[in-house]
C-alpha cells in the first residue's frame, strides 16, 4: 500500500508481545499527525504525513537516509516547526501559538543519536536537573528517582562521574535514564544506537526492549532491523518524505508490500 493513509485496522492487534496493555488504551490516539509537510528551503523533507500513535504502542520508523524519518520524529515534540499540517498531542495542537510547549515536552521524552549529555554536570545532575526545575521535585526526590533509574540501566556506581569519563554506551544509558526521570508519556528515540560501537549497541537495545515490554509508548527511528522486527507493534517505512507502507513486523519483513521496501530490505538485511 503505497499511500499515506494510516492503516489503523491492520496493526496493533496482530502483534503479540504488548497486546494486552494496548487494547485497553486503544480508543484515542495520544499523538495524531495530520498532513504534515516540512521543507528546508527548496528541499521538501516531509510531504504529507498522516499518523496516529496509541498509548502503549511501540512504533519503529525505518527508511533510507534522507527519507524524513528523523525530521518526522523531531516534529512530534516541535523541535522542528512543520511548514504545514498538525501534530496533536493528547488533544493539544503543538503548532498553536498559545500552546505551552515546555509543559508538553515534559510529557514527551527524547533520546538522541549523540546523547547530548550536559558535560558540565555529573551523571546524577544530568538526571535530576529537569525534574527539579520543571516538575518541582525536591533535590531529595529527584536524586532518589535518579539513583533508582541508574540502578535500572546498570550505572549506579557512575552517579558522581562526569559524562566525559563514560563510554558511548554508558552515555546513552544515562541519556535514557535522564529522559525517563521526567516520567514521560511518550519516548522518542532518534537513531539512539547509530553512534555506538557494535559491542555497546546491545546494552542500549536491551534497555529499550525492556521499556517496550513494560508497556511504554515508544517511537523509534532506527537502522536496527532486528530490533524493529522483534520489538515493534508497528513498523513504518518512509520514502521520499511520505509513508511508503506500514504494518506489523511480520507483514513488512516477511512479505514486503512495496517494491521500494523490498529494495531497501535487500540492502540492509
Amino acid at each position: 500500500m503505497a499511500n499515506t493513509t494510516p492503516t489503523k485496522k491492520t496493526n496493533p492487534q496482530t502483534s503479540t508481545a504488548a497486546a494486552a496493555p494496548e487494547a485497553a488504551a486503544a480508543e484515542k490516539p495520544i499523538i495524531q499527525v495530520v498532513d504534515l509537510h516540512k521543507s528546508f528551503g527548496d528541499n521538501q523533507v516531509l510531504d504529507g504525513i498522516n499518523l496516529d500513535v496509541r498509548k502503549g504502542e511501540v512504533i519503529t520508523i525505518i527508511g533510507p537516509s534522507g527519507s524524513g524519518k528523523s525530521t518526522l520524529l523531531r516534529c512530534l515534540n516541535a523541535l522542528e516547526q512543520p511548514t504545514s499540517g498538525q501534530v496533536v498531542f493528547d488533544g493539544l495542537n503543538l503548532m498553536a501559538p498559545d500552546v505551552d510547549i515546555d509543559a508538553v515536552r515534559c510529557r514527551i521524552g527524547m533520546v538522541f543519536q549523540h546523547f547530548n549529555l550536559f558535560p558540565h554536570m555529573s551523571v546524577l545532575e544530568n538526571i535530576t536537573f529537569a525534574p527539579m526545575h520543571n516538575l518541582g521535585l525536591t533535590q531529595q526526590e529527584a536524586e532518589d528517582r535518579a539513583r533508582a533509574l541508574l540502578e535500572d540501566v546498570g550505572l549506579a556506581e557512575k552517579a558522581d562521574a562526569k559524562p566525559s569519563s563514560l563510554s558511548g554506551g554508558q552515555k546513552q544509558r544515562v541519556a535514557i535514564a535522564r529522559a525517563l526521570a521526567m516520567r514521560p508519556e511518550v519516548l522518542l528515540f532518534d537513531e539512539a544506537t547509530s553512534a555506538l560501537d557494535p559491542e555497546m549497541v546491545k546494552d542500549v537495545l536491551d534497555i529499550m526492549r525492556r521499556l517496550a515490554d513494560e508497556g511504554d509508548t515508544m517511537i523509534v527511528v532506527t537502522h536496527e532491523m532486528g530490533f524493529a522486527r522483534e520489538v515493534s507493534d508497528r513498523v513504518i517505512f518512509t520514502e521520499g518524505g511520505h509513508i511508503d507502507c506500514q504494518g506489523t513486523p511480520e507483514e513488512l519483513f516477511e512479505n514486503p508490500p512495496t517494491e521500494r521496501l523490498r529494495e531497501f530490505l535487500s540492502k540492509v538485511l
Binding site: N77, L79, D102, A103, R105, C106, I108, G109, M110, F112, H114, N116, L117, F118, P119, H120, F129, A130, H133, N134, L135, A175, R178, A179, M182
Partner: protein, 488 residues
C-alpha cells in the same frame, strides 16, 4: 619657541569635532573684569607639558621641576593662590585649558597671533629662539654643511618652521618627530645629522651631556607666555602678570634662570644601569599600579558590555541585533585614542560632563574592549553544540533556563582563553592613555627619559616591567580559571 603651530594633528581633529558641537551649544564668552585680589586662597588647575626640559620635567625623585614650575609656584606664593599642576603633554595641556578642564597652561608656549585667536597670553616670561645641534663628532660647522643631510625637527614647533624656511637654500631633508628625546636618539643612532630646537632645550641637553654640540648662533625668536582660555580666568592671568613683575624686580626671576640655564645648572646624575633601575622603580611601580587598576576596572566594564551586546547579537529581535552590531561596528572600527580624546576634551564642552582622567581612560578602554568581547561572547555561545539546547528543551526547560544553566556555563569555558587574551591586550592598550596624561606605565617611562634622556635604557626597563606584569597576570588568570572550572 617650540610648537608655534599649536596643536598636533590629533588634537586638531578633536578640536574639529568639538567645534562642530560647540557651534550648537556655546554662546560667545563674556569677558569679565580682572580682580587680582579674588584669586587669594583659591586653587587653580595648571596643566603643562611632560617632556620639555628645562621648562618642565621630572627630577630623579619624580617631582615636577623646571623653569615653568618654579615660576608658577613662586608667583602663586607671591599672589596667595594655590596650584594643582598636571603634566599632560603639550597639546593635551593646551586643549585642556581651552576646554575648561584646566585654568591655565604654562608649558613654554610661544606667543603667536594664531594662538591669540583661542587663548589670552600672559606677559612674556622668556625670550627664546631656534638653535641647531649636531653630534659632538660631526663635521657640520654651519648651515652651509647641511646639503644632502637629514635634519630632524619637532612637529609644530618654531624649529620646524625655521628649518623649512632655510631648507631650499641649504638643500637638506626634514623629518618631523614628536619628542625632543626622539630627536636626540636619532642623532645618537646616526639616523639624522642635525636637529633644530629651542635654544634652552638644546642648551639643557648639552649641559646634561647628551653628546651634542651647538655650532651656530641662536636665531631670534618668539617669547613664551602662560595661557588661559580666551576671555576666561582673567583674574588669574592678571595675578600671574603682577607676580611675574615682582619676581623680575626682586631678582628671584634671575635666580630661577641661573638655576636651570647657568653654568652651574642642576645636572641629572649619570648613574649605572642598575642605579637607573633603582631610581626609576618607584615611578614605574606607580605606573604598574595605575595600568592594572585602569585595566581591571575597564575589563569588568567590558565584560558587562560584551555579555549584554553579545546576547543582543544572538537575540531574536532585529532591533536588538542591529543595536549590538552598531556598537561593535563603531568601537571596533575607531581607535581607542580618539575616544579617549573625545571623552576628555570634547565631552566637557558638548555635554558639560567633566570626567577624571582615570574615568575617561577606563570608559574608553571598556567601550573599545567591550566590542571585541561582544564578538567573543557571541562566538562562544554559538559554538556550544546545538544538541545541548535541544536536549534541555526536550526535557521541558524554558529557553531562559536552558541559556542560563546549560549554554552559559559551557560558553564561559569556551570563551575563557579569548577573554584572558583580551585582558592582556588591554594591559598594553592602556598605554595609549598616556596621550591624555594618565599616569600609567609607559607614561612614567616617558617622564623619566624626558628628564635624563636615557631613552633606550628606560624603554628596556619598562619592557621588562610589562613582561613581568603580564606574566603574573596570566598566571593569576589561569589559576582563577582552574579554580572556577573545578568548582563549577
Amino acid at each position: 619657541m617650540h610648537k608655534t603651530k599649536g596643536l598636533g594633528r590629533l588634537a586638531q581633529l578633536v578640536c574639529l569635532v568639538m567645534a562642530v558641537f560647540c557651534a550648537f551649544s556655546l554662546a560667545a564668552p563674556v569677558p569679565a573684569l580682572a580682580d587680582v585680589e579674588s584669586v587669594k586662597g583659591k586653587t587653580y588647575r595648571i596643566t603643562t607639558d611632560t617632556t620639555f626640559a628645562p621648562f618642565e620635567y621630572r627630577d630623579s625623585n619624580g617631582d615636577l621641576v623646571g623653569i615653568d614650575m618654579d615660576l608658577i609656584r613662586a608667583i602663586a606664593e607671591e599672589e596667595g593662590f594655590n596650584v594643582q599642576i598636571e603634566s599632560l603633554g603639550f597639546n593635551a595641556a593646551m586643549v585642556a585649558t581651552e576646554s575648561g578642564n584646566s585654568d591655565m597652561t604654562i608649558a613654554g608656549a610661544s606667543i603667536t597671533d594664531e594662538r591669540k585667536q583661542t587663548y589670552d597670553f600672559s606677559d612674556p616670561y622668556f625670550d627664546s629662539g631656534v638653535l641647531m645641534a649636531v653630534p659632538e663628532s660631526s663635521d657640520i660647522a654651519g648651515y652651509q654643511d647641511l646639503k644632502g643631510k637629514k635634519v630632524v625637527v619637532k612637529t609644530g614647533t618654531e624649529g620646524e618652521t625655521f628649518a623649512k624656511s632655510i631648507q631650499d637654500q641649504y638643500g637638506f631633508d626634514i623629518v618631523s618627530v614628536d619628542q625632543t628625546s626622539t630627536m636626540v636618539q636619532m642623532l645618537q643612532a646616526g639616523q639624522a645629522d642635525a636637529m633644530f630646537d629651542d635654544y634652552p632645550i638644546i642648551a639643557y641637553g648639552i649641559a646634561q651631556g647628551n653628546g651634542m654640540k651647538s655650532v651656530t648662533q641662536k636665531e631670534a625668536g618668539n617669547s613664551y607666555g602662560a595661557v588661559v582660555a580666551k576671555g576666561k580666568n582673567q583674574d588669574l592671568l592678571q595675578a600671574f602678570n603682577e607676580g611675574l613683575a615682582k619676581l623680575k624686580a626682586d631678582g628671584r626671576y634671575d635666580q630661577i634662570m641661573e638655576k636651570y640655564l647657568g653654568d652651574n645648572a642642576t645636572k641629572a646624575e649619570q648613574t649605572s644601569f642598575f642605579g637607573l633601575l633603582q631610581q626609576s622603580a618607584p615611578a614605574l611601580l606607580t605606573g604598574v599600579k595605575n595600568t592594572l587598576l585602569v585595566t581591571v576596572v575597564a575589563f569588568a566594564g567590558a565584560l558587562v558590555l560584551g555579555i549584554l551586546f553579545g546576547l543582543m547579537k544572538i537575540s531574536g529581535s532585529k532591533i536588538l541585533r542591529a543595536i549590538a552590531s552598531f556598537y561593535v561596528w563603531l568601537f571596533r572600527g575607531t581607535p581607542l585614542l580618539i575616544w579617549a580624546f573625545f571623552f576628555y576634551f570634547a565631552l566637557p564642552q558638548v555635554a558639560g560632563v567633566k570626567l577624571s582622567v582615570f574615568a575617561v581612560g577606563a570608559l574608553a578602554l571598556a567601550l573599545n574592549a567591550g566590542s571585541y568581547i561582544t564578538e567573543i561572547v557571541r562566538g562562544a555561545i554559538q559554538s556550544v553544540d546545538p544538541g545541548q539546547t535541544e536536549a534541555a528543551r526536550c526535557l521541558g526547560c524554558s529557553s531562559g533556563l536552558t541559556m542560563r544553566a546549560i549554554v552559559f556555563p559551557q560558553a564561559a569555558k569556551i570563551a575563557t582563553p579569548s577573554l584572558i587574551n583580551q585582558l592582556i591586550i588591554m594591559v598594553k592598550d592602556s598605554s595609549i592613555l598616556l596621550a591624555i596624561g594618565f599616569g600609567e606605565l609607559l607614561y612614567q617611562a616617558q617622564q623619566i627619559y624626558a628628564a635624563n634622556l636615557r631613552v633606550s635604557e628606560v624603554l628596556f626597563i619598562v619592557a621588562m616591567f610589562y613582561l613581568v606584569t603580564i606574566s603574573l597576570l596570566t598566571m593569576l588568570a589561569n589559576w582563577a580559571t582552574r579554580r572556577f572550572s573545578e568548582n563549577g
